[in-house]
Symmetry: C2
Subunit: 138 residues, 2 copies
């Protein structure tokens, strides 16, 4: 209900946006969600799946699937966490580290087109506000 009944359009816009990003990232084998996880690891360093879920508002069962996919791509690896044999620490591999800047370039190119209707400052504001909104409801 962010803007009245046009809530429908927000959902649609979000979906379209994701479809575009996913297509753009296809050459790397990535999707928007997978890149999202990569970025978390790049910013936060190696983390347990639970921590990744908390940091990224990702359900733990979904996190399993995402990390499975990244591991199949050779971009992350699961390690046993010292001191807690229940938990897995997920770490970027060299391939994952190298994929990040490439993925960012693809993403930035396609985003520039899509967000061209907003000025750069407004784009950053939008991201910050939505992040707060999502975190407030999780």
């Amino acid at each position: 209900m962010l803007f009245g009944s046009a809530d429908f359009l927000l959902n649609k816009s979000a979906r379209r946006s994701r479809e575009r990003l996913d297509r753009a990232l296809e050459p790397l084998g990535l999707t928007g969600k997978l890149l999202y996880v990569l970025e978390i690891l790049g910013a936060e360093g190696a983390r347990t799946q639970h921590e990744i879920g908390s940091l990224g508002c990702i359900d733990r069962s979904s996190a399993v699937v995402f990390i499975d996919a990244l591991e199949a791509l050779g971009m992350v690896e699961r390690r046993q966490k010292p001191g807690d044999r229940r938990a897995h620490v997920v770490a970027l591999t060299e391939k994952g580290r190298l994929a990040l800047p490439k993925a960012r370039a693809l993403e930035a190119k396609v985003r520039r087109e899509y967000l061209a209707c907003l000025e750069p400052g407004d784009q950053r504001t939008l991201v910050a506000l939505l992040t707060r909104l999502v975190q407030a409801h999780n």
Copy 2:
């Protein structure tokens, strides 16, 4: 890719927003999508299903389902279009017309709550930015 790799958050936020709106509209039997169609009819007057789809970026097969639901609620009715027996003109009923302001009130109430985690100024900023974004792509 609206928000770079955090695009994931946009989809999540959009879904949360819709879930809340749907719950708020339950007493009327409506959902956000159904209200969206009602608003189109309120603004544009009686239209064929094809026109509703074009105006609202709704797939024709989805439009069938939405209009079925609204008809079951007694808020719209299908009429034969004069001069084209393939087409149905969908018109608001009295009940549909009366439901609109009630639905708008519920929507406004729940929107205020959902955005309460942001200060009033930020709320306005977010709505403004999203509206510009959606309109630019629809």
